[in-house]
Amino acid sequence: MTQQMINGAVLCAVYVLFSLGLTLSWGALDVLNLAHGALMMFSAFTAYVVTQHVDLPLGLLFVIGVGTAGVCTLLLDVIVFRHIRAKVTDKRQAELLTLIAGVGAAGIPVTLAVAYTHDSPFGIGHLDWSAYRLGDNAQISTIQIAIILLGAALCTALALWVSRSRTGRALRAVAYDGETAELMGVNTRALSAVTMLIAGSLAGLAGMLLVIYLGALTPGSGEPFMLKGFAIIILGSVGSVWGTAIGAVVLAATETAVISQTSGTWVDAISFAIILLVILLRPQGVVGKGLAERV
């Protein structure tokens, strides 16, 4: 039981990191980045390619992995999404094109990874972590502790950033009404760049932590994570940091419970069940307030 709670907490922390990026860009910029999962996988993949050629300390690998996902997401925004937003005035059409562009962009890292690895799992080593015994039949490793702490710390930091900082306030203003915010002197371009950089870096961090924790990822690992990310942000309502945390706790807890009771093959279906339930029962999500409404 203790062991399951530990596993659940680790899962939850990774989910939080992954979903925060997805929900932030959607809530603030109306960008649902369908390449988010692919870029999460790509961070670990880049680190893996680096380890194939040089031997670098883990810290540096993290910088490379997180940086790759962050910069790729930033470039995606600067080159593609911003172009669409500037050119297409109809908001619905812009959203649709962004969605399609995201699918196209996701094809690039996935294909590279498939071609390089011949569609097989890859890892970056660093599997030996000292473990501490907790009670009779439970243990926790340093990497697990690190993941849980990172998840909690970054989630809190992001929540504070959005609610307290000047930039965070500007972000909420943009989420509420982009045009007015721009008129009031908010630099929406810089803001969207910062948001996307943070969003991508969070995905990258999730990817790096995951590849070390699980030992390996596959080129297709991003797809089930998109499902999970969707379930979490729809549970927690789009744009809300704490909502995302709550959504991640619910999903991780349910998944852990299901894994412990069944063979676990259906675990990815839980996300979809959650999505359906929320849509049918409470379209607004459990927290009920997004980034915009809290202005």
């Binding site: 649709l96 962009a105 094809g107 294909t111 279906a269």
Partner: protein, 315 residues
């Protein structure tokens, strides 16, 4: 000619199979329904038809059953979905496609697990594929004509407007959703009957990329665009031998570039050309296919927003 035909048979078959699928995405996008669901129903059609024919069902009833079931299921599913705002609908239907991969992988004996179905009896020839593609084109092209076409174009431009002229928007969108799913199922059935196998990943993420590229590159404003896109995407890999394993990377880049610089696709470019050339070829005015001016000038009161926020619009 004959030897050319036989050496390219797989491509020709693949192209004919893709036509209904590209059309299924095209009609959804054209009607302002952000749905990727038809790609999931491609999987449903492929697995369903495969499973039924392997259990001895004749081809045609198996196929028809899967198409009808997919359409009905989509119609029922669409009731809550159609109320969702754009991005949510995109997200949920994307999730629907991904979850079907999970279901197929975990379906045990029925779906053959990760290996998928193998040895489905071959049930259709190239003639049959051609006939199916033509039927799909005929059905979709009828959605672009006269009153039906005017209303569907209208839905994308302004839902409030089409409702205010008397179009039952909700039922219209639900029907489009169902037609789109049925076309997806048709395409999947054709695939499994032609290649006798289907894997969980057959209807996964890469199929979403390929199909979207087909629909968008050709232009979503008409069925012609979907057909043009299918032809281009089918024959592109043969033109550049190096594309090979980087096929989906190329599609991804192409998709992004088209969305950025030519969201109207090839069809949009052709219309643009026609507008340029037509006045020179004949003295008459160009056809009224494409807007020729910018947005109307801002004239104070008239240009201010109206109190019908998009998300409060009833359906």
């Amino acid at each position: 000619m004959n030897s050319w035909y036989f050496s390219h048979l797989t491509l020709i078959q693949g192209m004919l199979i893709s036509v209904p699928l590209a059309l299924s995405v095209q009609i959804a996008l054209r009607s302002g329904v952000f749905s990727f669901a038809s790609i999931g129903f491609y999987g449903v059609g492929a697995y369903g038809t495969g499973i039924l024919t392997m259990r001895g069902w004749p081809v045609l009833p198996a196929m028809l059953l899967m198409i009808v079931v997919s359409g009905l299921v989509a119609y029922l599913m669409s009731a809550p979905l159609i109320r969702l705002r754009g991005l949510y609908l995109g997200m949920v239907t994307f999730a629907f496609d991904l979850i079907l991969t999970v279901v197929a992988t975990n379906g045990g004996e029925l779906t053959g697990g990760a290996l998928g179905l193998l040895g489905v009896p071959l049930g259709i020839g190239t003639g049959g594929l051609l006939a199916a593609a033509l039927v799909a084109i005929l059905a979709v092209s009828q959605l672009e004509r006269r009153a039906v076409g005017r209303a569907l174009v209208g839905i994308k431009a302004s839902e409030e407007l089409v409702m205010s002229v008397g179009v039952d928007l909700k039922s219209r969108k639900r029907t489009v959703f169902a037609i789109s799913a049925a076309l997806g199922a048709l395409s999947g059935s054709l695939y499994v009957l032609t290649f006798s196998t289907v894997q969980p990943t057959s209807a996964g993420f890469t199929l979403i990329i390929t199909t979207l590229t087909m629909a968008v590159i050709g232009g979503t404003s008409s069925w012609i665009g979907a057909v043009i896109g299918t032809v281009i995407i089918t024959w592109l890999p043969t033109l550049a031998a190096t594309i090979g394993e980087y096929q989906h990377l190329v599609y991804g880049v192409v998709l992004v570039l088209v969305v950025m610089y030519a969201p109207e696709g090839v069809l949009g470019a052709l219309r643009w050309l026609w507008r340029r050339l037509a006045p020179r070829l004949r003295p008459a005015r160009p056809p009224a296919l494409v807007p020729s001016g910018g947005p109307p000038p801002d004239r104070g009161a008239a240009a201010r927003a109206e109190p019908v926020p998009a998300d409060r619009v009833k359906g």
